[in-house]
Each structure stands twice: as C-alpha cells, then as structure tokens.
Amino acid sequence: MRTGKRFVALLLAIACFGTTGCWDRTELNELAITSATAIDWDDGKWIVSYQVVIPSAISKAMSVTGGGASKLPIIVYSTEGKTIREAVGRSTLESPRHLFFSHTRVVVVSDVAARHGLSPLLDVYFRNPDSRETVSVLIAKGNARKILEQLMQIQIIPGDGIEETLRKESEEFSALPNVRIYDLALSIVSPSKSAILPEILISGKDEVSSADALSKTSLSSKLRLGRLAVLSGDRMAGWMSREEALGVAFIRDRIKTTTLPFSCEKNKPKIDSAFRLSQSSTRLTPKKGGDGFVMNIEVKGEGQLVETDCTKDLNEPSVARQLEGQLEWEITDMIEKAWQAARKMNIDVVGFADAIHRKYPKDWKRMKKDWPASLAKIQIEPSVHVTIKRMGLTNQSFKTLTEKD
C-alpha cells in the first residue's frame, strides 16, 4: 500500500538522524568559557594565554559538586605555537574542555607582539566564526599574561571587568577609546593607515592572583588603564600620554563626556575648577594654503560646571564668558600638544587623511603615496567654542562665603 511504503521511508529517514549522532553538538559542561585572551610574542613564537571561567565558583545556583565560596573564579594557562591558531590547537593537550571564544571580552596584546604586527591576529578573528569581532583590544607593556592572572574586586570575572572599565572610561572620560577588533581593522585599512589602542597595566606591587590576596579591603595592586598606544599600519610605533590621548580624541570627534580641570583666571597657574563636558562635536575642514594644507579643527562643546574654588561672581554673564574662554584655551592647548606628538611620530593618528580624501579626492590620489611627508607639512587651525550650560545647584562658589567676613 502506497501510504505504508511512504511511512516506512519516513521512519528510516528519521532513524538516520538518530544513528549518526549529532556532530556539532557540545554540551555546556564540555566548554571552557574564555573571558579574556592574551597574545605574547617571544622570538618567533606566539604565546596565547586564556583566562577560563569556572562556572560553579561563580554561580549562585545549586551545583552538585558543592559550592566552594573560596574557589577562584578563573584559571589561566598558556600555549605556544608558530601561528596563533596553532597555539590554540595545542590547548587540547592540556585542557579537558573545548575552548569557547564566543564570550571573550578582551584580548590583551603585549607591545612586543604589537611591534611585530597585528595582521595575523586580525586574520584569525575575521576568518573564524567562533571568535567575535566585538572583542576589545588592549595593549600591555611587557608580559600580557600577567594581566590575565590579576584578580579584581567587585567584578568577579576579570575579563568582563576590564571590558566594563574600558567601556565606562570611553564614555565618561573619553581619553582612551574602546577599540574593538573591527574598529581596529577599519582604522588600519582606512586612508590614515594608523590605529590607536588603550594600554592596560598593573599598578602597585605584588600581583593579586590568589584568594588570600583578594580578601583585603585594599588590594596591593590593581588593573588600571594607562596610556595610548599608537600603531602605524598594523605595527606598534609608540606611546602617547593620557593628555595627548585626550587631545587626539578631541580631534577625532570621539569625546562623549569628559571632565576638564581649568583655572578660572587667565594666566593663573592654579587649577581650581572643573567642568564636565557633556556634548562635543568636532569638524575637520581642510583648506589649501601655506605649504600644503591647513586643517581647520572646529570643536563645539557644552556642559556643566561641577566644581569651582573661584571667587568670581558666577552670576555675571561676562564671568561665564571668561570661564568659557579658559576652557577653550585648555582644549586648544590639548589639541596642539596632541598634534605635536603626532607630528613627532609622523603617524596620522588624528585622521586627517580621511578628511582630505573626502574633500580633495584628486589631491589625495597624488599625496597618497607619500602621506607621512605631506602630513608633516599640515598646519592646524583650531577653533574651540564651549558653552557652560548649567552651573549646578549653587550659584556662587563656597569660597566666597569663607572669604567674606
């Protein structure tokens, strides 16, 4: 009977599903969830380190093996190889579980590896489906593995903690950008052929990598974000200080919010006020002039006064204009310093190439080949305009009360 035959065929087909097993299946308890990786380069070998999460130490759910509150949440180990993925492949020699990179938050690259060149790393991330391009990249001076071994307070998983710190920083202080793999790739292939990466370091003595060290109210050493690393092409070329990094951020229009200290009187060295810049936009306009190009950097910002020890009458509009003038001077100074640093390194960290490419495509075609030389000839014309929108809940500084009789 035809229906009978069809039914049998269907049953056989379904049976095939079951007998051959499920090929791509991995149970949750066969995974080693990696929250951070570190890349080191040692004399022709790549050393890849993994910070693997131990779920039962973190989760509050009931687990069979019994919750050990004193268990550490992570373990770190490294493997090495001539290529990055070879090193990863070798991890099967020592790990009982399959390394799972999809939840990795950060990849820490040592500066030695960065000087060697980051294109193998980028290729690995783009080519493999299990590595995600949303991973944040950081540079560490010296040994990158040490960064992974460091424990953190408040945030149990250090990898997540580093990423959260970086994210908050790029939103609240904006000096160091949160650079993800695809941002890095876009920067490197853009006309500027350069990139910037934040640095992470351990400040203090004695690393914190055991439970005892963690059980104090104040740790002997902490993970901290540091300077800005500058890359030319895919190789690291140098460092920029944090102030210079802030200037670069201004030029590149990457400021979200930041807190600027300034002095309320001109030519007074004492810094007594702080301003919280809540909105900022920068426009780069190249113009032909001088020896090459003149780049007009127009910065517009507004924000709120958050602290002042100044005795001036803040209610007066002229005083407000004065303060704004001081702020503008500060920002201009930062921009100038950043530009000088970029010129010294001869790397287009500030993104001028893009602006010229868009406005003067024909000239760009000529200058493309010898861009660093042309870069040095560019002069900048910063024009900053800051508005103090709000003064806060007090309309005069507290000092005015103490200085009165």
Binding site: W23, E133, T134, K359
Partner: protein
C-alpha cells in the same frame, strides 16, 4: 472547490520573482560589488536597476502573448515542437543549475558559520527534501509561503538596520564617484546577472489570476529585489567601509555580528541567519519547481511525481560533486555565473521574442518549420 486551486495573485507573483533573485544575491553581491567598486558599489547596483526593468519589460511582453497555457505548450503551437523542446530543456537545465548553486551556497555558508562538523551530505539533503515537499504542493503553496517569508525578511531587515544604526558611519560613502567607470561596471555586472532571473515570469504566466498585469508584476518583482539588494549593500558599506567587505565572505552577517547594546543584545546574528536561510529555502523551492515544470511540460510528461524525485536527486548530486572545493565554486561565481545567467535569461527569451515577432500569428499554421 470554492477557490481555483491553481491561480496565484499578482502580489504573490511579484514576491515570487523577487524571492527568486534576492536570497543568493544579497549574499554574493556585496563582496563582489564592493570589492570591485569600493564605496560606489551602491551606485553600480542602482545602475543595474534600469537594466533589470528592461528585462522585466521583455519578459512581460513575452508572457502577455501567452494565452494562458504553459509556456512550452504555447511555444509548441507557435514555433514548433523542436524549438519548444530545445528551449524547454535549456531552461530546465538552467533551473537545475541555479538550484544546485543555491544549495551549494547555502551549505557552504552553514559549514563555514554554523555547523562545521556536520557532514555536507546531510546539510544538502535537508533543503532538497523540503523543496521537494513544497514543489509537490504546487506553485500556489510556494507563493503563499514566499509572501510570509518575504514579509519576515523585510521586517528583520528593518530591525537590523535599526539596531545597527549607531554603528553606521556615513563618511564611508564619500567621496562619491571615486571609482573609475570600468570598475563600476565590473561591480554592477553580477547584479545585472542576478536581476535577469526574473525570467521566472514565463513559468508563472499560466498560473496568474490577472495575466494582463504580467509586466507590472515583473517590474515590481525586480524593483523589490533591487531595493533589498541596495539596502544590504548600503548597510554593509556604512558599517565596514569600502575596503574590508572585499575580503569578507559574508559581510551582511558580519554587520549583524557586531551589534552590541550593553551586555544583553549581542551576538544576535543567528536570528538574521535563520531568516535568511528561510528565504533561501523559498528560492530553492521555486527553482526545483521550475526545473520539474520545464522538464515535464516541454516533454509533455503526465506523471510528474517520479520526475520530481529524480530531478531533485540530480540537483542534490550536482551540488555536491560538481565543484570539488570552495575555491572552484568561488571562481565559478565570479566568472562564469554572470554569463550563464544572462545567456539563459536574456538571450534565449530575446531570441524567442524575435522569433515570435517574425512568425506573427501563422494563420493556417503553414510556416511551422523552426
């Protein structure tokens, strides 16, 4: 039966045409186009649109001459048996080829992105079985399913754009007109090739409930497909700029991969992948149906079911074994595919159209010799 079970509405037909073009186009064209034309890739796609409309006009006028019987029986009556069988077999081979390319594309994608260890045989067998099931239900079932899937695709495309919005950088589109004309053409050629797939209209002609609107249907279908393609190319460009997509195999999903809001909405590209897989299934169903239809109609075979199974088996084997590895397949996509598509979709119908115009209603069926 209250409803005529064989007729499909105009909207359904237009959606069918765009579903025959869009799914594989959106996966292949961004890479090729952006790699060739840089940030003007969207211009090259836009330039392909009028050509697509030209094709649509050709197909529309051709199918309007059809009095409502299947394309091949009509050709038979107008131009003779030999012509209709030749054209039929040629078109059957074309549909078969495109169907196996589609499966191969899908399987390549799945093996690369999702299921690396699952054997390719299994991954190819599942879509084929589903396509056979759909094709055995007839074109009307496929039309209904395609409308639903197309709606889903548009909804998710809109959703994706909304989510990716703050990662888009308009500066990537400028300067406009940077690429030299030859490269623009090189980038636009694949789009033209894919748009010519609207020749599906011939197969649909006898099933339309309003055959007078054939041209409008074809234009609508081509335009919808172009719009989808343009959107995807723009989204990819705005996210990744002009250089990166050239080396990425699936930039559309790369764009979805980088969506990240806080720590909750991330790694959602799988949802978009699922929607896209559904659209590829629809395309596959359409082309398997097309293969069987061309084959059985041109040879006037009554018992369709056994041929359904055999042609599907043929498609299955063709997709597995014709291209020994991915490099050969990519080479095929880049070079031969466009020429093949244009030949089968444009040149052959153009010749048929010419032949019909020349033949001009043979009054006493006198000049029937091909």
């Amino acid at each position: 039966m209250p409803l005529n079970p064989e007729k499909i509405g105009s909207v359904q037909a237009a959606v069918l045409i765009s579903m025959a073009i869009a799914p594989t186009a959106v996966i292949v064209i961004p890479t090729v186009s952006i790699g060739a034309s840089g940030q003007d890739a969207w211009l090259s796609v836009l330039a392909a649109w009028p050509l697509g409309i030209g094709f649509a006009l050709l197909y529309g006028s051709l199918s309007r001459m059809n009095p409502g019987v299947s394309f091949f029986s009509w050709l038979d009556s107008r131009l003779g048996r030999v012509v209709s069988v030749t054209v039929g077999l040629l078109l059957a081979q074309y549909y078969l080829s495109v169907a196996s390319v589609t499966i191969r594309e899908l399987v390549n994608f799945l093996s690369n992105e999702l299921l690396q260890k699952t054997p390719v045989v299994v991954l190819s067998a599942v879509p084929i079985l589903i396509a056979v099931y759909a094709a055995s239900g007839g074109i009307e079932v496929i039309a209904r399913v395609s409308v639903l899937v197309c709606t889903g695709m548009i909804v998710f495309l809109a959703l994706g754009i909304g989510l990716e919005f703050n990662q888009m950088q308009p500066r990537f589109l400028f300067p406009v007109g940077d690429a030299p004309l030859p490269r623009l053409i090189k980038g636009g050629l694949p789009s033209v090739g894919w748009l010519s797939e609207a020749s599906l209209l011939f197969i649909l002609a006898p099933y339309l409930s309003k055959p007078r609107r054939s041209t409008a249907i074809a234009i609508a279908g081509v335009s919808l497909a172009t719009f989808l393609l343009l959107t995807v190319v723009l989204v990819v460009l705005l996210q990744f700029g002009p250089e990166l997509p050239g080396i990425m195999a699936y930039p559309m999903f790369g764009a979805a991969e980088i969506i990240k809001y806080g720590s909750f909405v991330e790694r959602v590209d799988l949802v978009f992948i699922c929607v896209w897989v559904a659209t590829v299934y629809v395309k596959l169903c359409i082309f398997v149906f097309g293969t069987v239809h061309c084959f059985t109609q041109s040879l006037r075979i009554k018992a369709v079911k056994p041929f359904l199974w055999t042609t599907s088996l043929l498609i299955f084997l063709h997709s597995l074994y014709s291209w020994s590895d991915e490099a050969t397949f990519l080479h095929y996509q880049k070079s031969v595919s466009t020429a093949f598509l244009i030949t089968c979709n444009v040149i052959v119908p153009a010749l048929v159209w010419l032949g019909l115009k020349i033949k001009r209603r043979p009054a006493a069926s006198a000049g029937e010799s091909p």
